[in-house]
Each structure stands twice: as C-alpha cells, then as structure tokens.
C-alpha cells in the first residue's frame, strides 16, 4: 500500500500537536511544519496527498502560501484544506476557494470532521496514484506489444525476402555461368588490345556479383550448427592469419588478454571462426596503420549458464551514431566493396549459439564489439 504524506502547517506548536493526535488514527505519514516557508521547502522534495494549512500565520499567511504552492505545476492540484477561525468573513472564505482551497475546517476543530475530511483526500490521492501507476504499466505493455508486433511483422517480411533472395541467388547461377562461359570464350578470341581490358573489368564485376550472391544466399539459408568442443584461441588465430596473410598491411597487431579464462567451448568451430573473421575484418578495414586490436576475455554468465565474454576493440575512428544503430542491419555498409552482411551474419551465428553480440559504449576511441558465448554442453 505505502503510507501517504499529510502536510500540516501551523505556527502554533500546540495546535500542531492537536492535529497530530487527531490524525494519527489515519496511519499515514504526518509531517508537521511551522511556517509557509518550511511547507514550500518540504513540498519541493516530497509528494503530498493533502495539505492542512492554517490561514493566520506570521510572516507568510495561509493564502500567500497557497498562492505560491499553486504556482508549481506539480502542486497545481494538491488539495489544500484551510484551517481558520469560525468568525472568518464570507469574503475570506471565497478568497480561499479562489486560491485553490478545496475545503475549510473551522476552529475549534471537531476531531471527527477533520479526520473525515483529511481521510477523503488521502483516499482520493491514493486511488489517483494507483490509477496513474496502472495506466503507466498499461502504456508500457501496449508499447511492448506494439514493438513485438512490429518485430514479428519485420521477421515475417525478412523471412519472405530471405526466401525470395535465396531463390534469386540460386537461379542466378545459371545466368552467371553463361556470362562466365561467354566471357572466357570472348577473351580467347580477342587480340591483345583495349578490348581485353574491358573483358577483365566485366570479369571483375562478375566475380563481385557472384560473391555478393553467395553471401546473400549464405545469410538467408538456415543455419545448421555442428557443435563440438574446441578451444576458441585456435579459431580467432586462424581467422586473424587468414586476414593478415594476403594483405599488404604489415603494421597490424593483435593483443590477446586471455586473463586465465578457460577457452574451451562447445560451438560450431567454422561458424565461430567466421564470426571472428567478420569482426576482425571490419576492425582492420576501419583502422589506419598502425592497427592495434585487443581481444579480451572474461568469465561470465548468460541466462544463468556459464559463458565466455569476448571483447574485440580496435584503435580506429569509432562508429557514428548511425553506424552504431545499424551495424547489425543486413546490407548496411560503410565499405565501398562490402556486402553489408558481415556483422549481420556474425549476429546470426552468435544468436544461433544462444549468445549475444553488441557494440560497446560510445565516445570511446575505436570500436568495441562484445560477444557473450555460452560454453555449451559437450
């Protein structure tokens, strides 16, 4: 339930004590203050169900205090009960209502009446608060449901597109073969000359198209994992040596911070090597020499299961907000030659292993990719 705050403002300690005794039965939090100033100070920090406000006070009287309270947007509707002498003129009573008083209590106070009036507002406040909470919860639920619906729709669309694209990539093979055959036969018949240069260009474009189609097909095809127990070190080292052995880059370094983490996992070694290759390839392409990539490990857990935390950080220019948001989106690419599928494939593989892949915190030098990989059962 939670107790609610009742603020009582009166300059006379004796009267405060009387109110305290009367209102104690309500079993809420009673907050007694001796001046309008103190009341305002308290209201700035605390939420209050109802204010019991003495009209006649030195320095700042009840009406002044009420005026100031009402100026604060949060307190615009906080109920105020004025406590005033029975002899108050009609005029003053009206003034009080204009200032937002919701009720009056006249001295001498009748305990039952005061208690009844305060308790009505406390209950009203409690109901309103519960309603607001339920409403907020409902809003969250609606938002979540909407998001889930959108995701389901998106997934459905992606599945349909995936199927279509796989079909196209498949059917394209015959066409690519015809181009390839014709190109080779054409090249054989051409004398040395500028024409051969064009043929070479067509051949390059043809090769690119072929690799693109294969990448798309690979991305769209269902993932079949063949898990076995293996050490992760062999996998990223193999990926790294593949990436750096052909390249013209020589000033590249990979630092390993294994931190005594047990690197044995039950995963699909080819698939995980591909994840390393795709992430490291991006890192290499993003950085200018000298490249320094740090791969760091930590023991962790995912959904209560033992897992390995892997972080790969480069010393490149880092990612823009747009890049961070779209890094795992298929076909989003910043490279002139990329397919835009590298990170999307990495994500698919990691998720197929029940793991997670995310981009590290922003405003950091370089880009950091975090992977959490469940150890799996051998």
């Amino acid at each position: 339930m939670g107790k609610l705050n009742i603020l009582v403002v009166d300059d006379q300690p004796g009267k405060l004590l009387t109110y305290e005794t009367i209102l104690a039965d309500l079993q809420e939090n009673l907050r007694m203050v001796k001046s309008g100033r103190e009341a305002l100070h308290y209201l700035l920090h605390e939420e209050v169900a109802v204010i019991l406000l003495d009209v006649v006070m030195p320095e700042m009287d009840g009406f002044e205090t009420a005026t100031l309270i009402r100026q604060h947007p949060r307190l615009e509707h906080t109920p105020i009960i004025f406590v005033t002498a029975f002899s108050t003129s009609e005029f003053d009573t009206l003034k009080g209502y204009e200032l937002g008083a919701v009720d009056y209590v006249f001295v001498p106070v009748v305990p039952e009446i005061l208690r009844a009036k305060v308790s009505v507002f406390v209950e009203l406040h409690r109901k309103r608060r519960d309603l607001a909470r339920a409403n907020a919860k409902l809003n969250v639920e609606i938002t979540e449901r909407k998001r889930a619906q959108e995701q389901a729709l998106q997934a459905e669309r992606l599945a349909a597109i995936g199927q279509m694209v796989t079909g196209i990539a498949h059917e394209s093979r015959n066409a690519l073969q015809q181009i390839q055959a014709s190109l080779e036969m054409l090249a054989r018949r051409l004398k040395n000359g500028p024409e051969l240069g064009f043929v070479a260009e067509i051949q390059k474009a043809q090769d690119r198209l072929y690799h693109l189609f294969e990448a798309v097909r690979g991305y769209a095809a269902p993932i079949r994992l063949t898990r076995k127990e293996c050490g992760l070190a062999g996998l990223w080292r193999e990926a790294w040596s593949q990436l750096t052995s052909y390249g013209q880059r020589n000033d590249v370094k990979l630092h390993e911070e294994i931190n005594d983490v047990n690197l044995r996992c039950t995963v699909d070694p080819f698939a995980i090597e591909r994840v390393f290759r795709n992430v490291l390839e991006n890192a290499l392409e993003a950085c200018r020499d000298p490249v320094e990539i740090v791969i760091r490990f930590a023991e962790t857990q995912l959904d209560g299961q033992p897992a390995v935390g892997i972080s790969i950080r480069d010393n490149g220019p880092g990612l823009t907000a747009e890049q961070r948001q779209n890094i795992f989106v298929p076909f989003f690419t910043t490279k002139s030659r990329g397919t835009g599928l590298g990170m999307a494939i990495a994500q698919r593989i990691v998720e197929a292993h029940g793991g997670q892949i995310t981009v590290g915190a922003e405003n950091r030098e370089g880009t950091e990719i975090h992977i959490i990989l469940p150890r799996g059962t051998p």
Binding site: H170, R173, N174, L176, Q177, A181, E184, Q206
Partner: protein
C-alpha cells in the same frame, strides 16, 4: 603434370557444350563427344570408353545423377557433376552414385583444371584400393580352399602338414596348374567320394 584425358561431356545447353569443349581442349584434353541428355551420355560412355565424364545434372529425359548410376552399374568411371544447384538432396544422390567431384556453377577454366586433376587422382586411388581389396578377398578364398585340400590329403595319406603342402605344390607344378586349382579338384573329388551332395 596435366595428363590428356579422353572425356565425354553432357550438357543440355548449347553454349555450355561449346564452352566445355573449348575449355577442356585448351586444358589439353580430348573431348570425345557431347551428349545433350542423360540417356545419350550413358550410350556414349558404353560406345566410346572415356577416361572421364563431366555432366550437368538437370537435363531432359534422364538427369546426370541417374546417368551416373547407370554408368557405374556398367563400368567404373570417374564422373564429375557440374550443377547450378546443390540442395542436400542432390548432394546425397551424388554421394550415392559414386560421383568423384561436385562443381557448383558458375565454373571457370581455373576451377576446372584443379578439379579434374584432384578428381582423377582420387579416382585412381579409389580404383587401386578397390582392386587391392578384391585381390585380398581372392587370396583369402584361395587360402581357405588350399587349407581344406591339405586337410583332406593329411587324412587320407597320413602325411604331416608340410608334406601334404609339398605334395600339393608338386601336383600343381607337374600338371602346370595353379595351386588353388589343384586344391579345388581335391576338394571336389573328396566331396564326390565322401559326402552326400544330393
């Protein structure tokens, strides 16, 4: 290094037939004939006795994999399939039908060359292993018959084992027959004298 092979090709597409003929010739091979269908391929293999078969899968009247099965039933030949498709079902059929290589289109001259070399090598190894296994099986069969014949001789003539074996060897050399043939005759004669073989 590259050895010239006599090849039969099957492709239903004219452009690809031309390409394969031209490219294989450039690679130093001899294209004996080009089939358009699986059935044609099977017939050509029977009549031309090629050293290598390169076939498409999707073809009218009989596909390349059924043709491979028909060829294998008749003769042991290395078969390379070239297809735009590689569904698990096709791969499984290719495995069952003794295909030595499965190339996925688009192929290039530079893929074709090593693919042929490796396929031929695997095929020869396979053939040699198969021959070796057959030889071993035969040797074991022979051994069994010789042992039986020796046993019969020992029982009937009271010779000991080395003597019985020497007698078998002598019989073979005198009659200019193989040892296993002599043993076979003895086993058969023994059956005729002793056992009820109705």
């Amino acid at each position: 290094m590259t050895q010239s092979l006599r090849i039969v090709v099957a492709e239903d597409e004219a452009l690809m037939r031309q390409y394969l003929q031209e490219t294989l010739t450039l690679l130093g091979h001899h294209v004996l004939s080009l089939a358009r269908t699986g059935k044609e391929l099977v017939q050509l293999c029977r009549s031309l006795d090629p050293e290598l078969v390169i076939t498409d899968i999707q073809m009218p009247d009989m596909d390349g994999l059924d043709a491979a099965a028909a060829i294998y039933a008749n003769d042991l030949l290395p078969i390379i399939v070239v297809s735009a498709y590689h569904d698990p079902e096709l791969i499984e059929r290719a495995e069952k039908n003794h295909v030595v290589a499965y190339l996925v289109k688009p192929i290039k001259k530079e893929n074709l060359e090593p693919a042929i070399a490796i396929a031929m090598r695997r095929f020869r190894e396979f053939r040699a292993t198969r021959q070796e296994a057959a030889d071993l099986r035969q040797a074991l069969e022979d051994r069994k018959i010789i042992e039986r014949a020796k046993g019969i001789l020992m029982k009937r003539t009271r010779l000991d084992e080395p003597e019985a074996f020497r007698r078998l060897q002598k019989l073979a050399s005198v009659n200019n027959r193989k040892l296993v043939e002599v043993a076979q005759s003895i086993v058969m004669a023994d059956d005729a004298f002793l056992n009820d073989i109705s």
